[in-house]
């Protein structure tokens, strides 16, 4: 024994003592579904693309975004951003301006000329897409990526659908639509304009198509019966907005009354104002709270001097004047006539009462089911007729650009599987990273960055874009407000806070691993993970 005085054992490291045996719960890393992602009708991985924007890698962010949605510059302008309504940051201060960052990425892509990759393989299959609105464009993009030959047949003279013939320029400049459509066509998608499909079966046969995706939208303005003298101009909102795209601008007069409470009513009233109407008045039978139009748009309209008669219906239209009846809400919240009348000066009345679908092209197709004027589809977006899929405004939907884009993507996945004789099974969804799963202590105070708005004079007289974009600085700031809900953003907290040094750091981009030899299962890491990417689960035995 040549040990020092009084030493009888060799010194050793405590690594010999595997404290993992103490554990009754074990921490596991997981990815939870961020609420923004869960709420996005286009199924974007918002948290995923914000992650790249946070570090300033905008191209990577744009590529991650366009995995799911090929139209970010459009979405960044017209999407009603249900993601922001779900964003967990609203419980800290206010939601992340996802839409503003999306727009920046979309605009940056146009500015820098970023292109989509060419499809890697060719399937040899041909798919007909009817309608070049957002749903058709989205389907075409995804189908092309799967390697199918895609042809879009569009009745109108331009691509874009309602984004072009409905949504006014001051919200969506046409160059933006053109750039994002062109990028899809550059992938090898064929677009045939002024090509109305009169009968889908004939069109498929003539073009030797293996499958079709229908996305013809809803373009027939709903009418309401208003007793009218001959001299009154009664027009429908969709025609007015559509004619804004042509040579002959609509003649509406000095005093324009718009009938309806949806976004179309708002858009047409704002358009009339810009066309020089002295008075643009919206007449709607319910209240502001009940109006289907988004409140932000009502607000913008009011700022521009649009007037609104809430709780009012049009009873009669005479030359130069209309009669409206006041309504009152009953106990159930429905508007009821009061017998109280009022006269309003009006040169024209624009009806914005919603749209119906023109189903002419489907005549004689067996198996189709039409309910409430829209075509019924299964969970795979296929109609009752095998091989014919449909999406967007012509099927049951909230009728937004984003839903239309989502339908296009979903349909493309199912068409791809169907063409291969298979069925597409969506991967199981992760549990949602609700706010209670987060540890919000760790997030910096960071106020929401507001997008600048055009001055009011120009908003009333020109079609210049009203809402402007963020610059690079505040885009990055806004992106960094993201809490990264449910997905590790490599903050090193778990690695740092473990009293047992039982977390292994694998290096940038590679995340972490638990060392279960020593982890005692205290749960500190899970509690201190800011974003809820660790869960404690009971040990089996």
């Amino acid at each position: 024994m040549d040990k020092p005085f009084a030493i009888t054992l060799d010194p050793g490291s405590s690594l010999a003592n595997k404290t993992g045996s103490w554990r009754t719960f074990r921490p596991v890393y997981l990815d939870r579904l961020p609420p923004c992602n869960a709420a996005c009708p286009a199924g974007e991985n918002i948290q995923g693309w914000l992650y790249h924007a946070e570090s300033g890698d905008y191209e990577q962010a744009w590529r991650a975004l366009t995995e799911n949605n090929p139209l970010p510059a459009i979405m960044g302008r017209v999407c009603y951003h249900p993601c922001q309504g779900a964003c967990n940051r609203q419980f800290v201060d206010s939601a992340v301006g996802i839409n503003a960052v999306e727009r920046f990425l979309g605009d940056e892509a146009i500015k820098r000329g970023w292109a989509f990759g060419k499809p890697m393989k060719r399937s040899g299959k041909r798919v007909l897409v009817v309608g070049a609105g957002p749903s058709g464009l989205s389907a075409a993009y995804h189908l092309a990526r799967y390697g199918h030959a895609v042809e879009i047949h569009e009745a109108g003279p331009f691509a874009g659908g309602m984004m072009r013939f409905g949504i006014p320029k001051y919200r969506l400049p046409r160059e933006v639509i053109e750039a994002e459509v062109q990028r899809i066509l550059d992938m090898g998608v064929t677009l045939k304009l002024n090509t109305k499909v009169a009968n889908i079966a004939d069109a498929m046969k003539a073009g030797h198509f293996d499958a079709a995706f229908l996305a013809v939208g809803a373009h027939i303005g709903k009418r309401a019966f208003i007793p009218a003298a001959d001299a009154t101009r009664i027009v429908d909102a969709i025609s007015v907005l559509r004619s804004m795209e042509g040579e002959e601008k609509p003649m509406l007069g000095r005093r324009v009354v718009v009938y309806g409470g949806g976004n179309t009513a708002i858009d047409v009233a704002r358009t009339a104002k810009r066309m020089g109407a002295e008075e643009a008045i919206i007449v709607y039978r319910r209240t502001r709270e009940k109006a289907p139009a988004h409140d932000s748009e009502i607000e913008e309209a009011l700022q521009e001097g649009i007037m609104v008669k809430w709780l009012s219906t049009i009873k009669q239209a005479d030359a130069g004047e209309i009669t409206i009846e006041k309504m009152a809400l009953d106990d159930k919240g429905f508007p009821q006539p009061t017998g109280e009348f009022e006269k309003l000066a009006a040169d024209s009345v624009v009806l914005a009462l919603g749209q119906d679908v023109d189903l002419g092209l489907l005549e004689g197709v067996p198996g189709l089911e039409v309910k409430n004027g829209v075509v019924q589809v299964g969970p795979n977006m296929m109609t009752g007729h095998a091989g014919i899929f449909a999406g967007g405004d012509m099927v049951p939907s909230e009728r937004t650009v984003t839903v239309a884009v989502g339908h296009g993507k979903k349909a493309a996945r199912h068409i791809d599987a169907w063409l291969a004789g298979e069925a597409y099974a969506p991967p199981p969804k992760h549990e949602v990273a609700t706010f209670d799963k987060l540890n919000s202590w760790y997030y910096s105070e960071a106020p929401h960055q507001v997008r600048p708005v055009l001055d009011i004079i120009r908003r009333q007289s020109t079609f210049e874009e009203v809402v402007q974009g963020l610059d690079e600085g505040n885009t990055q700031f806004e992106a960094r407000r993201c809490l990264s809900c449910g997905n590790c953003f490599e903050c090193d907290n778990c690695y740092g806070v473990c009293p047992d040094n039982a977390v292994i750091k694998l290096g940038p981009g590679k995340r972490f691993q638990f060392n279960y030899d020593y982890c005692k299962g205290c749960g500190v890491c899970a509690t201190e993970c800011p974003c809820g990417a660790i869960k404690m689960v009971p040990e089996e035995n």
């Binding site: 953003f489 047992d500 500190v524």
Partner: protein, 337 residues
């Protein structure tokens, strides 16, 4: 202020690391190859604040002096759970002293190193002494005060878990009022530890006018690391007092350790500051002010305050203590008094 927090960048410097910060602004604990001065396999309880605080502090000291460090360690949990002979978790030169004499042992090591330096030792080897609150504020207090008074070149770190935890949770002079321990049971007219006794050693250390005194908690890593780094830049006697929650002694869930430390700071129950030569230089401001109940309620050692008839008067007295800290150190305005 030793620590300049970085705001924005998602989590700024609140988290241990942050991929958005430049590498030189990241913490010692975030490094993939940190020292791990106290390694895995130790026998501390699940979620032990002391084990964590010791790794935070000693790793930061090692980083500051390039690994040229010797530690003297008083008897107490930290020593017992890390070094059951013949095993040890320490990956630094480390000596176990007695319960009460760590400061003196460290003084001796520092003196020996000084002599060696005069004899041509090329390295700058530095000394840290560490112990629990019992070993520091009670039994080791004479040695500690002597070390301060002589301005010996030692950084003394006290890990304050508010009691003699290793021997079964007895009261120390750092046990807060009203807290239940094995020797201050939650029985009688005034259950728990008495008001008006005990001591706050950081203030006593300041009274020695030593070059550097600081307090910290395991909930603010970046602040703690900066204070250790600052302390190692200075020669002479230095003292850092770190609040380290003890799940067993405080009756808290093992996963709550950091949260509880954070609440101690946020409610004002534990003031976090730094002082030079007896003068407070900076405080870590309260971020989201909270009533003391938030801190007390999750701890079983205060459970008797929240029974069928809540002890509102006792809680009010504790709130008064917190309010006094807030006033005294300017905890709501970052120390601008």
């Amino acid at each position: 202020m030793s620590f300049q927090p970085v705001k924005f960048y998602q989590t700024g410097t609140f988290t241990v690391g942050n991929r958005l910060l430049p590498p030189e602004e990241r913490s010692v604990q975030a490094q993939a190859k940190r020292y791990n001065s106290i390694n895995s396999g130790h026998r501390a309880c699940q979620g032990c604040g002391e084990a964590l605080g010791a790794r935070y502090a000693i790793d930061a000291a090692m980083e500051a002096v390039d690994g040229q460090l010797i530690c003297a360690n008083a008897t107490g949990c930290l020593e017992v759970f890390s070094t059951p002979y013949p095993e040890t978790s320490w990956q630094v030169p480390w000596i176990h002293s007695l319960f009460g004499n760590t400061a003196a042992v460290a003084t001796g090591i520092a003196a020996a190193l000084k002599v060696k330096k005069q004899q041509g030792e090329p390295r700058n080897i530095r000394v840290v002494a560490q112990g629990g609150d019992g070993g520091t504020t009670d039994i080791g207090f004479g040695c500690l005060s002597g070390m301060f008074e002589r301005n010996d070149d030692v950084l003394y770190i006290c890990y304050d878990n508010g009691g003699y935890m290793n021997t079964g949770i007895q009261r120390s002079s750092a046990t807060p009022p009203a807290a239940r321990t094995a020797t201050t049971m939650a029985v009688g007219a005034e259950p728990g530890n008495v008001f008006g006794q005990g001591k706050f050693v950081p203030a006593i250390a300041m009274a020695h006018e030593i070059p550097y005194v600081a307090t910290a908690t395991v909930a603010d890593l970046r602040d703690l690391e900066a204070k250790v780094r600052r302390a190692m830049e200075i020669r002479g006697a230095r003292y850092i007092h770190i609040l380290v929650p003890c799940p067993l002694g405080w009756g808290t869930a093992s996963n709550e350790t950091i949260r509880i430390a954070r609440l101690a700071k946020e409610t004002g129950m534990f003031p976090v500051f730094e002082a030079e030569h007896g003068e407070v230089k900076s405080v870590l401001a309260i971020r989201h002010p909270l009533p003391v109940e938030e801190y007390l309620k999750p701890q079983k050692r205060y459970a008797h305050l929240f029974g069928k008839t809540p002890q509102v008067e006792v809680i009010a007295r504790l709130q008064e203590l917190a309010d006094r800290n807030i006033r005294k150190y300017g905890l709501l305005d970052g120390g601008e008094r």
